[in-house]
């Protein structure tokens, strides 16, 4: 992934569920912001909060009922919410993917599935919050190759519906769109299919959920996508280079997803 660009990178890991909901937060001054954060938050929202600090990120585990209060309290402290979920943790920073993976100790992480992304920014600034994956609901995250041309119109529609994106980024608008469709009752397949009608522009999307991940490409499908499948795993990449180190790749089924077609894999 490092070969594809240096501006920022992110990782979503679907790990083991804890005793409650995980909230991943980021700070530019972790030494001061994370010092005693769990105890202070616990006192503020009532209840026990466990904290695991990883470089500029911390994963706080709170009881499900106090999730909203915890997020509000953390945002009030100026911390950036990377993602929330029963199993999902999100780590993202500016810099080369290799360096980002190293500073968070990606090699030592484990889980059922994960998504990584490196960005070549086109539609918004290179910042931590502008990096992918974008998570706009619990255990959901989205990465995107491409650019959307109707994201400002869609941002206004979503804001009116109560799914306002936090950044100027086009991909976050797509993430909010999918989350809004799911919140309105659509299943993931229908929500992803909706992007083909409602989003204008180039995209190859990969959407992670607690149970698996989905893939959809726009009808022109300029943006590359390749899949590898064996009895043991399913992998997605922008190019084969990302698969070259996978076990058994020589005998894997390697194929490209069709345009305007939704694919989904569940565990």
């Amino acid at each position: 992934m490092t070969d594809r660009g240096p501006d920022s990178a992110g990782i979503a890991i679907y790990g083991t569920p804890g005793e409650g909901h995980k909230i991943t937060v980021q700070s530019d001054t972790p030494e001061t912001d994370f010092d005693g954060l769990g105890d202070a938050l616990g006192a503020e929202i009532g209840g026990t909060v466990t904290t695991r600090v990883n470089d500029t990120h911390a994963v706080l585990t709170v009881l499900e009922g106090s999730r909203a209060a915890a997020i509000a309290a953390l945002e009030a402290r100026g911390l950036r919410i990377m993602g929330v979920g029963e199993t999902m943790e999100i780590y993202k920073e500016t810099g080369l993917p290799r360096d980002v993976a190293k500073r968070f100790g990606l090699r030592d992480m484990s889980g059922t599935h994960g998504i990584g992304h490196t960005r070549m920014a086109t539609e918004s600034a290179v910042t931590t919050l502008g990096a992918h994956p974008f998570s706009t609901d619990a255990d959901q995250c989205l990465v995107h190759n491409g650019s959307l041309s109707n994201h400002n119109t869609m941002r206004r529609i979503l804001t009116e519906k109560g799914f306002a994106p936090k950044t100027e980024n086009d991909t976050e608008v797509a993430a909010c769109y999918i989350s809004s469709r799911i919140a309105e009752g659509a299943d993931l397949g229908t929500a992803l299919e909706g992007t083909l009608n409602d989003l204008d522009g180039f995209f190859t999307f990969v959407m992670g959920t607690k149970d698996g991940f989905g893939v959809v490409r726009d009808p022109i499908a300029c943006k590359p996508a390749v899949m590898a499948e064996t009895d043991d795993y399913v992998a997605f990449g922008s190019e084969y280079r990302a698969f070259a180190g996978l076990p058994g790749i020589e005998s894997a089924k390697v194929w490209e997803p069709e345009p305007a077609t939704v694919y989904f894999w569940e565990r």
Partner: protein, 236 residues
């Protein structure tokens, strides 16, 4: 050339596990000035731009799969990839032969002026886009928008073609044995005449398949987009 070693078969081995891409390509590009004619490239791991810009009658075997633009701008050389290739294989080839044992990603043979590209697996979208004289033979299927604005040369497909085949086609000839999902603007089926059967037989023979020319249908340009039609002025 410190790490280039000759094997018993007299093929020079270029190992990308220990050599930089530029060193591999500059060795191949300098081959015309040496008496070496056989090369093999190992440990490709999906790397980009392998064996590009060659201009000598040499044979290069690329063992494994490659990334973008393998064998781009080829002249005279024969490049044989034993795995699959990424986007833009043999892009802008002038002459020579490129053979891919596996699949090819988007825009295989794009803009190429000459030579023969054989893909033994499937090719994905935009195969032969803006081709200008190359012959492409795909043993499997091809994806959507293939031969878009193709100007000259032949595209032969033993399997099926995706949507919008030959959109805005000029004078390239398209031969498909299987189904065509849809034809693009100004692309129509045409009569298969004896000279086409003869041409097709030669291409099939050279690409190592025993498919029968009679099993194919020919598609080409209706030539209605060549000139501005005043009745369409309102469309602009």
């Amino acid at each position: 050339m410190m790490t280039a070693t000759a094997t018993a078969q007299d093929a020079v081995t270029l190992d990308m596990g220990s050599m930089e891409l530029r060193e591999v390509n500059s060795t191949l590009q300098a081959a015309a000035a040496t008496n070496r004619t056989q090369f093999e490239v190992l440990n490709t791991l999906g790397s980009h731009a392998i064996a590009v810009g060659l201009d000598a009658e040499i044979k290069v075997t690329v063992k494994g799969s490659t990334g973008y633009y393998c064998a781009g701008m080829n002249k005279r050389a024969t490049v044989h990839v034993t795995g699959s290739v990424g986007p833009g294989v043999a892009e802008n080839m002038m002459s020579g032969t490129v053979i891919v044992d596996g699949d090819a990603s988007q825009y295989a043979g794009a803009t190429a002026h000459g030579g023969l590209l054989v893909i033994k697996g499937n090719a994905s979208s935009r195969c032969g886009i803006s081709m200008k004289g190359i012959d492409i033979v795909v043993h499997g299927n091809i994806g959507h928008m293939s031969a878009f604005m193709a100007q000259k040369g032949n595209l032969v497909v033993l399997g099926d073609a995706g949507d919008a085949l030959g959109d805005s086609l000029y004078e390239a000839r398209l031969f498909v044995r299987g189904s065509v999902k849809s034809l693009g603007a100004d692309c129509i089926e045409k009569e298969m005449r004896p000279e086409h059967l003869e041409l097709l037989k030669d291409l099939l023979d050279r690409s190592g398949t025993d498919a029968k020319p009679e099993e194919f249908r020919r598609y080409g340009s209706a030539r209605k987009l060549y000139h501005f039609n005043v009745d369409h002025a309102d469309a602009y």
